[in-house]
Symmetry: D2
Subunit: 341 residues, 4 copies
């Protein structure tokens, strides 16, 4: 809370009251009495002013508006740390010159299918295997994932291919078991503001891939990263996966401008998931290229050997041969913007 | 999945393949071959077709679009149960002729303040005391609630006033302790699709107030109610509290049309929270009146004796005298639409 | 432009440059140099600072953000005129204690149907007849309205019933002919920012009903009213008709909170059109009640004797008997909030 | 209107009534009576069914929903014309292998500034000069453009540089004078559904650049293109320039997924305007690269020699040296996706 705009009707008494309050927090003020509005500029370290203190100023008599100038996140901000964070996962760097690709099925279904997909994405150049063992589903009657069995399959696929694995957590009670297997823990879009879950993974030493909520602003997203980081875990990457808008031609609206915006605001690496962003197989490759051109540090892509029989999100999964073709097309784009695939 | 539209390029082979698939699920089909598109109407009990089976049809070669006709929720649907569910909480009915009002502070701060607020909302005619002991906050540096101490204060306020209490759960691990104290368990907007939490409260015998997610469609909201109900707990009420839109004049956009829409789709009672919906004290009373006129079964209102010192959301809390005035104004509106306050 | 926030990297040179600029516009400044940001408070009559001058400050080196405190509209603001404007249309007042209802078909189809509808809405208590002679349609292949013939039918229906008429303008070239017949000229949602059309009706002496654009903020809407008023026509009423959001259960999302927000910001009367807002017949009556409870000064309702054969928007039109029933139900609601129907 | 879903309560009488209606339009039907719903598949050339006829079916007793399968636009559809339309403007092709760049100031201010900008964008490789003579501005008190004088400056700049010019039309009455000067006529976002203006430019022989409305779906956008084409003018290009969402970090949300979606649905060339899409200078270059990677056929970029003194949108204008740098960076990206700059 750094600028306080007083309403027309604010009295001298109102102003004195606010100033007294600010001074009790060791802040100094700078009063601008204009012809139509009085403005209080707040001087000093306002970063220690809490949300509730800010709310109390908003609620004070005579106050029309409060503008907060300082960013409400610190650890996540580019001002806190100038250079982009490089996260090293079993030797693969996220946030460096190379743009690693995380690929695999939406949900882990069985070992045979997973092994086959893992082999193929590895051959096409993927650096990580993704796959869900615990699945958030809109309907209670849908397949909810294999649970620990799915984690075991993922670990086995990692043994087989050498690809580190990314998998989702939905419940703080699952952190222990997931940590046994996963290399990167994913927080899904619907849990971006599941604050207890954020705090829990904040105590972990595993890197966290934090997906953007369907209707979350970039600021709220960074606040959720701050939750994790405030508990000690600094290895957070942010994954854009589409926001909810009025447009129905795509499943969501992939907000690629979030990539350069994040590059200005934060030192955390930025991942893009075009599969969930657009929800349609044919649109994945062009948006993957655009993501790299916009500056993404990594990609997450759904691949399935038999999309038609996938137990979740088959409609947006690439077939291995489509994935392989896309990977070939991505290489020159990465080079054109000074990166490598 | 009830209607399948085939694309221009669908082959005879594609069509046979889909029909075979549907028949393996004991469904019959009705083929309409138009001049430009072929349409497959699916006949039989498609309610057993899972989301992943539907996805697999969407992903099949030759398929352009799939329209699902049946609602994906059952227990929550008005077709499943014709008459509105009446939820009895310590003798107060939600879903009946009377429109109970749930009032109190956003967060429980200390016993003195809570007792004072409880006394005043009781005197003005409130039927429930609301207050958060566990608070979801955007920032990790903000006040996160008093936890069990807050629950104890709420119980003490209930002893004092006789008002049953409504309080929020954020973590499945807190269900036991919250159940000891609460009369209604609230699921907040940010947790509307925290599916593990939904399943957990589904095993409870406490009524659940399920807030709408900031960007959730009415259908998704009903699916989340279905999650709870599928576990056995049928006492679910739905609380509209504003959706996220482009408009910034209000904190959220209170979607009052959701009230009559829900009245058609579901038998569950509908609560409206205008305080969070608009986020500004002066707008609460007109929107509370509008909510009742639109058919709401109950209201949830934030009240604080000293909004300026509230530890959360002071900007939108009514002062007791404003609350009392609003209650007086609501009575004739309730009567005008055949209800009582 | 009233508060200028400078970035971290702003130099003394940058600051001097901005100050010099502001002083050239006869503004004084108040410098707050905080530990992390420097803030310039602008003092003097900033209302003469144009949008482009504000833009130029935003684009100046060292500037991070500019907050404009004063409202960009004047004639439309509640500060400019304290009491609500009452618009007298052939003796019917909009903006007074009585809440007039404007009813009729979406489009004028022929004299027989129009006469029948006009008689029935008159009998049920409507104060205006609405009907489109020039229709904005999404498709070039749809019925575009009868044009001047439709205006003649409307005038004839007015002669018959005494109801003043409301009809839409789409093209500045039609102002002359429409003015011959209409009592209120409507600007549709899609033309809310058709600035040339706004300027044109601003020169007219007919009252203007300005619908809110599908994705217009309340501020932009008031700026469009200002366009009309800046040309001399002060008889503007604002009509909320639903905004575009992600929700698909209703045609649009009727933003009723706009009603009390507008009541604070402007002296212009506020009309609500629930028919377009929800797009479904069954939802019109509850939302009409809610609109009055929220403080609307008038309602606009679509009515058709044979909705099934309506040439436009039949899905949301009430039948005369439904309209009559709604009018009966609205009366007690109006009385409950100190109004009359 | 191709599939009609009947409600639970539809009677035999209702069904007969609908069938009779469809048959009167020379359509045949295919009835699917399921256990819970009856579905009518419509067979025959439904493209002649008008919007109002479709509405009348929606409004018929017993009808729950109507799904339209065929696209409501024809001339604009990829099915109507397989190969991408190439628009030749004074020898520069839009829609071919080369990706031309349209650059220049938001508004034309005076000849000196315009000449200087034109020279510089030409030198950096732009193929068109853009600049507004008639400017849509939110406020009636802002600079509205130089009008015909601005058009003359543009023509003079074309004589000087050889760059064809793109300029906006706001009023059908200006078509004649604008046609004298412009090479491409632009329809701005706010006028995308100004249907009279669309019909007017549809009679012109000048190519039209149709910007997407702030809250327009891709389908509505194509319907607006259809308006123009239905009058004879087939040279329409579609320009994505950002949609309105809840995110405030950027001015709008640039929907780049619209590019591959349009490539599937239409043969019309697709232009992207990242300057308006993001509204901040620093974000323009990354989004321009992303646009080309996603498949854009042309770019539109704001450039100003002195953004700080620009009379409109200075905040998002590149300086000539920034534009020149961006052009250099775009070349390898274009080549990486098989195009040329």
């Amino acid at each position: 809370m750094d600028i306080i705009v007083l309403s027309h009707e604010a009295t001298e008494e109102d102003i004195r009251h606010i100033i007294k309050r600010l001074e009790s927090w060791n802040l100094r003020i700078n009063l601008s009495q204009g012809t139509e509005r009085t403005i209080i500029g707040v001087i000093g370290d306002t970063s220690k002013v809490t949300e509730e203190e800010e709310d109390s100023i908003k609620a004070a008599p005579g106050v029309e508006n409060v503008f907060r100038i300082l960013k409400p996140y610190k650890l996540a901000s580019r001002e806190f740390r100038k250079e982009t964070t490089e996260i090293d996962v079993r030797g693969v760097i996220i946030g460096g010159k190379k743009v690693p690709v995380m690929a695999g099925p939406c949900a882990v279904e069985n070992m045979t299918v997973l092994a086959s997909i893992a082999d193929k994405v590895k051959a096409a150049g993927a650096s990580f295997l993704r796959g869900g063992a615990y699945k958030p589903r809109t309907s209670p009657y849908s397949f909810q994932g294999l649970g620990e069995e799915g984690l075991k399959h993922l670990a086995q696929a990692r043994d087989r291919t050498g690809l580190p694995i990314v998998t989702e957590i939905m419940d703080p009670r699952d952190l222990e078991v997931i940590s046994e297997y996963a290399d990167i823990i994913q927080i899904g879009a619907r849990n971006m503001q599941n604050f207890r879950l954020l705090l829990e993974v904040g105590t972990s030493d595993k890197p966290v891939l934090l997906k953007r909520g369907l209707s979350s602003t970039i600021k709220e997203w960074l606040m959720s990263a701050e939750y994790i980081m405030s508990r000690g875990n600094q290895n957070v990457m942010l994954c854009e996966r589409g926001i909810r808008t009025f447009e129905t031609a795509t499943r969501n609206t992939l907000d690629l401008s979030a990539v350069p915006v994040l590059k200005q605001l934060t030192h955390l690496p930025v991942v893009v998931d075009p599969s969930h962003g657009v929800g349609k197989r044919d649109l994945v490759a062009p948006m993957a290229k655009a993501a790299i051109a916009a500056g993404a540090d990594a990609l997450m892509i759904e691949v399935h050997t038999n999309p038609e029989e996938a137990m979740s999100d088959g409609d947006q999964s690439l077939k291995p041969e489509q994935f392989e073709k896309m990977m070939r097309e991505l290489r020159p784009v990465a080079e054109a913007v000074g990166r490598e695939l």
